[in-house]
């Protein structure tokens, strides 16, 4: 099991962001994490990425506790822009390459080119869409076992979304790489998602194989999302 979450709780001042979530994700699956804003999707991904601590519960990645060792093979794409604006694009990529032993600089240059980015341009001069593309370029510059993507398409212009989705479909290592992606753009990534989890107010409202759920309910993922969110 690539991801094992058991009775996961996370408290912030005045509120519980996660309330006893339990979830298992098999290796090589693409899991869509759907839910309204503030439902706990980002919090769950941040805990898996090791940037947030759980209040209680168990989280194991490939049987290991989340920590420095698991971060070596987990690629985390937060919703925000995590890059240094003063760095040039390739400077930022080269900085990251130091920390991941399997980073492939040739692949990184190829991904930056595929995303239509100028390696000499400062990150601060990139548009929001270009920064989103840079996030995906960095994530697929090395063979990470687990990719955590928090709203990779949010606020991104349509051309950039298309590049990001193209990169996802082209670079995803079927059966070897596990992806957990939170998104509202269900209609754009629906065909890519194999399993789906709906999070509502910090709890799992629905979880299962996307095709089976569509067949059982006779609804698209977007329609299921709307019903559950009500």
């Amino acid at each position: 099991m690539m991801v094992h979450i058991q009775d996961l709780w996370k408290r912030y001042p005045g509120t519980w962001a996660l309330r006893g979530i339990s979830l298992d994700v098999e290796k090589g699956r693409v899991l869509g994490v759907l839910g309204e804003n503030g439902s706990g999707k980002s919090t769950m991904l941040r805990i898996l990425a090791g940037v947030t601590h759980p209040s209680k519960g168990t989280v194991l990645l490939n049987g290991q506790k989340v920590g420095v060792e698991t971060k070596k093979w987990v690629a985390y794409l937060p919703e925000v822009n995590p890059f240094y604006d003063w760095m040039r694009v390739m400077e930022q990529v080269e900085f990251l390459s130091v920390f991941y032993p399997e980073w492939d600089m040739n692949k990184a240059r190829e991904m930056v080119g595929f995303m239509g980015l100028d390696g000499d341009k400062k990150v601060g001069a990139l548009s929001r869409g270009q920064k989103g593309r840079l996030k995906v370029a960095c994530a697929f510059s090395w063979p990470s076992a687990l990719v955590l993507m928090d709203e990779p398409l949010a606020g991104i212009d349509p051309p950039s979304r298309k590049r990001i989705l193209d990169a996802l479909f082209n670079e995803y290592r079927f059966g070897e790489q596990t992806i957990m992606m939170s998104t509202h753009m269900v209609h754009e990534v629906g065909e890519f998602i194999e399993d789906v989890i709906f999070v509502k107010q910090g709890e799992i409202a629905l979880f299962g194989n996307a095709d089976q759920l569509r067949e059982e309910r006779g609804q698209s993922l977007s329609e299921m999302f709307e019903v559950i969110a009500m």
């Binding site: 912030y12 001042p13 941040r46 990425a49 090791g50 940037v51 947030t52 601590h53 420095v68 060792e69 971060k71 070596k72 987990v74 985390y76 937060p78 925000v80 822009n81 995590p82 890059f83 240094y84 604006d85 003063w86 760095m87 900085f95 990251l96 130091v98 920390f99 991941y100």
Partner: protein, 251 residues
């Protein structure tokens, strides 16, 4: 390039323009002061007083800039969301914090070497006279550099611990940082006499007088305990701050 060195270089690059500005400003102030320095202290007129101001300003910059630059380095990560990147890296969380500390320490020492070096040059130009005994300048230089390094270790330890406290708590962060500063300063002063007394076994550093290049005799001494205590406190605060970053600071 290994991970820590990459983080150190990143921190240094992030601060390079501010550091360069400060170095140029300190150097320019020092050279200006040297050119207009008035060595005739018998007449303490406006020129004599004004000639000290550039050195004074340069010295203030050396003492004030490093702690503020370190604090800014931490805060800017949160303001620009780059802490998402740093915390996701496969390194212990205290490592990026320690890199920030070392950059502030090394840049601060470099600034002081420029300011102190110019003042040392002024001292040699105007203070060395044949047949006239004077304090050994190498002793003075050693004490100046040591004293400033000790100050940096102490103040940067305070800042690291304050930042660790600030980003550990979820609410009233600045209040928590200021409160920590006040409490820790109180205990630092409170324990000073006791600690320095207990460290007196470290002995003293003799300051010699020299004339025409020959050492004459010891004219004063400085207790090593006065340096050891702030270094110990600074290191304890550094470890505390790094520990907070490692264990408790999160997004």
């Amino acid at each position: 390039m290994n991970a820590f060195w990459a983080l150190y270089v990143k921190e240094w690059k992030d601060a390079r323009y501010v550091f360069a500005f400060l170095m140029i400003a300190i150097g320019a102030l020092g050279i200006y002061g040297w050119v207009y320095f008035e060595p005739d202290f018998s007449d303490v007129g406006p020129r004599a007083i004004l000639s000290f101001i550039p050195f004074f300003l340069g010295g203030v910059a050396c003492f004030v800039a490093p702690p503020f630059l370190l604090a800014r380095s931490f805060s800017s990560e949160w303001k620009s969301d780059t802490h998402y990147q740093i915390f996701a890296l496969p390194v212990p969380k205290f490592v990026p914090a320690f890199a920030k500390y070392l950059v502030a320490l090394s840049n601060g020492l470099l600034m002081f070497l420029v300011a102190g070096g110019i003042m040392f040059g002024v001292g040699i130009e105007y203070g060395v006279k044949e047949g006239v005994p004077r304090v050994a300048y190498d002793d003075v230089l050693f004490l100046m550099i040591l004293g400033f390094a000790v100050y940096l270790v102490l103040i940067l330890g305070f800042v690291t611990a304050m930042e660790g406290v600030k980003f550990t708590v979820k609410r009233f962060q600045r209040l928590a940082a200021v409160g920590f500063w006040l409490v820790s300063m109180y205990f630092y002063v409170w324990f000073h006499g006791l600690a320095v007394g207990n460290l007196s076994f470290l002995g003293k550093f003799q300051i010699d007088s020299v004339m025409d290049g020959q050492v004459m005799m010891a004219v004063s001494s400085v207790a090593w305990a006065g340096f050891a205590y702030p270094v110990l406190v600074g290191l304890v605060l550094l470890v505390l701050g790094l520990g907070l970053f490692e264990k408790y600071v999160e997004i």
